[in-house]
Symmetry: none
């Protein structure tokens, strides 16, 4: 089975936004085992859009469109698809009900324009959109199908996952091709605390693989991802191939690995803290609340995160965190001594197991030769002692903040990991 | 003049990487005044690639390809373009010299495979790649042209900027069309505090414009952007056309407008606070530090932001923010009463002009029928009084946090704006 992706929107053609829908949908298609040979982007022009959808239907079994389902005059996708499929538009009362509900939940009256969104090609199956007003739909034309999804990723992605994925899976199974076909599976191993060039040097052999299993390397600020991809006749076989490579990667990178696939560093830490039954609080200067923001992005974090102080002035460091004025005077606000007092101060004040203190110069200005922009001290305090690390990060203000938060979260992870290993080895010793 | 973009690579079709080349090239084309109606992504398949390039040449004057110029067997772009253009491949000695130089600078021997990259279609003009081994090239086929660029953005972007841009500009001028030809300029007006559908309803006439000036509407979570685009013979003329529409938009949306182009809401607020000589501090519960993080993303924010407290427990609300236990008991942590006490508490404690208190249920769990996930109270306290607003946001945990932070920042903006207007009208009154 073959599918084509058609992304619709003049803002895409003008380059005003980067198209992330293509890669999201393509990844899903590969997982299901649907081939995809073309992705086309086209504007809100009736003739060009109709031509593109027609060409797609000639070349493939499924055409998936994104965009152009809004309530405005610019949104022509539904009308054009109906035209290509030779169907009338009918008012779908179930969609209308859904739309009124959407506005009612927000205590708002439904604007008249949104009525347009309840018009669906006759015979199409409509798809619920929990995050917006544009419903999607699937319309079958003989053995082929056109699937229309909204453009905003936060609306499109859940619909692709919840409705279109299962629909395509059943279609693939139904067509009986899956048995002889190949599927592609992948798994990402996520590392932090080690630069990309070092990771690269250690996996040259894996990156050179070119058979049914391949490995790719991708880096983002403060982390590196190794992606294992396996082509196989079935999922089980793909999993076995992936596992082999994963074991090699684990052996080579050990404590640098913090998670897999879409797991974030903050989610890994919240999970660790919950498992270890430890609470945490933060005292942030240069990161300005980014660490507490990332921790509290994780559902359930209220079980382990108690309190954070963002201390952007000396006054607040003294009054809130009990940093001694003498220390601020002698060593300056950006110093290991102050980071340590901040970490201790927040730990005691919030009555938690782990206190994080972080002070630095986010830049772009404010740096000196001795203390350049990007200099950051991170301290971690526990009842039995406090450690402090010094870093110098490169990049813009936001990039320095991001790398500092990443390093602080990683420090927490390594501490808890070390403790677990120590506990295990002690248990082992007392058992022998 | 019309151009089409063709991005080549199986990794794009499989969704392993997000395609940023399309938007980069599209933006450049718009700046130069070249129209672009289609973007196609295709894999490393000879027939499909040849068909795509042929279709592009039929529909447009210029086809720009990215990707498939590497040294491996998978890299077929040069060969296919030569085939479509009916040219032989010849070994370009200047490229060969360039390649050996590239490896020599890194103290490496040139691998044999890279020899392939010195093969260029006869009659093509090759383009230097300072950041990699793949040279690009421009091949003219009568009045039309095919331009091949490497896939990695850090190699492609400088080549697009330095060689392809000037080439296209001279082509636009040379074709005598520039004199009658056009440049495109744009300006974005950014709104918050008003939903997209309402904005849409108020600018239907502007969205329907279809001449030299057009207006587009784009929405992101918690904000709406109206983008004015003007096609004109020169910049000055474009600016005049943009200004006309901007005035209409300003008249219709007044206080909903917070900035233009790439300005962020947080940058607008930091600017306002500095101008008004006011300081601010935040007491955040459900937003978990996101507000202080956004404020401190702005360079210079340390002049107006003093301190933030992230208060994730009742204990911390009482001890840190002086919220009375009786209030917590009577109304619950998520209530307007507690938001008000938090705002007052942080204002007094940090000794600032404006205190923000925010409490809510970020979700996905923790909601009840009376207090659903997404319910947020935002209070703003000043010496002369405290106000509080209630919101119910939809979406994931991170989306609720984002919308709540957006609403809180907007509340600060509206307060300062109101004050300025009041001051102005008082000044006016005392002058009359």
């Amino acid at each position: 089975m073959k599918a084509e992706i058609v992304c619709i929107g003049t803002e895409l053609l003008l380059g005003h936004i980067v198209n992330t829908n293509n890669s999201f949908i393509a990844k899903k298609l590969a997982e299901i085992g649907v081939d995809s040979y073309f992705q086309t982007t086209v504007g809100d022009n009736p003739k060009r859009l109709a031509d593109t959808i027609r060409t797609g239907l000639e070349r493939a079994d499924i055409v998936i469109t994104t965009g152009g389902l809004g309530p405005t005059v610019d949104d022509i996708t539904t009308r054009i698809i109906a035209e290509v499929a030779g169907r009338r538009l009918i008012l779908e009362t179930a969609v209308l009900k859904e739309l009124s509900g959407f506005f009612k939940r927000q205590n708002k009256k439904m604007p008249k324009d949104n009525l347009n969104q309840a018009l669906i090609p006759e015979g199409a199956r409509w798809l619920r959109n929990p995050f917006g007003t544009a419903p999607g739909f699937i319309i079958e034309c003989g053995p082929k199908a056109i699937i229309a999804l909204p453009g905003p990723p936060r609306e499109m992605e859940p619909m692709m996952r919840d409705y279109v994925g299962p629909y395509l899976e059943s279609k693939v199974q139904g067509s009986g091709r899956r048995a002889q076909g190949m599927i592609i599976k992948s798994k990402s191993i996520k590392l932090t605390g080690i630069p990309e060039v070092k990771v690269n040097g250690k996996v040259k052999d894996l990156l050179a693989l070119s058979g049914e299993v391949t490995v790719g390397i991708y880096s983002r600020l403060g982390e590196v991802e190794l992606k294992i991809m396996a082509k196989a006749h079935n999922e089980k076989h793909a999993d076995i191939e992936i596992k082999k490579i994963e074991k090699i990667i684990q052996k080579r990178f050990k404590e640098y690995i913090y998670g897999v696939n879409s797991e974030t560093l903050e989610a890994a830490i919240v999970g660790l803290l919950i498992r270890h039954k430890k609470t945490i609080s933060t005292a942030e200067s240069c990161t300005g609340g980014l660490i507490s923001n990332r921790i509290t992005d994780v559902p359930g974090s209220s079980r382990i995160f108690m309190e954070g102080v963002v201390s952007y002035s000396n006054r607040s460091k003294t009054l809130e965190l009990n940093v001694r004025q003498a220390m601020l005077k002698k060593y300056g606000a950006v110093s290991s001594q102050v980071a340590v007092e901040m970490a201790r101060g927040i730990r005691k004040k919030a009555d938690v197991d782990i206190g994080i203190g972080i002070t630095g110069i986010a830049g772009p200005s404010g740096g000196t030769k001795a203390k350049p922009a990007g200099l950051v001290y991170i301290a971690l305090s526990r009842k039995n002692g406090t450690i402090c690390r010094k870093f110098v990060f490169l990049g813009s203000r936001k990039e320095v903040k991001h790398q500092a938060a990443q390093a602080a979260l990683n420090l927490v992870r390594l501490q808890l990991r070390g403790e677990k290993r120590k506990a295990q080895s002690e248990k082992h010793r007392s058992a022998t």
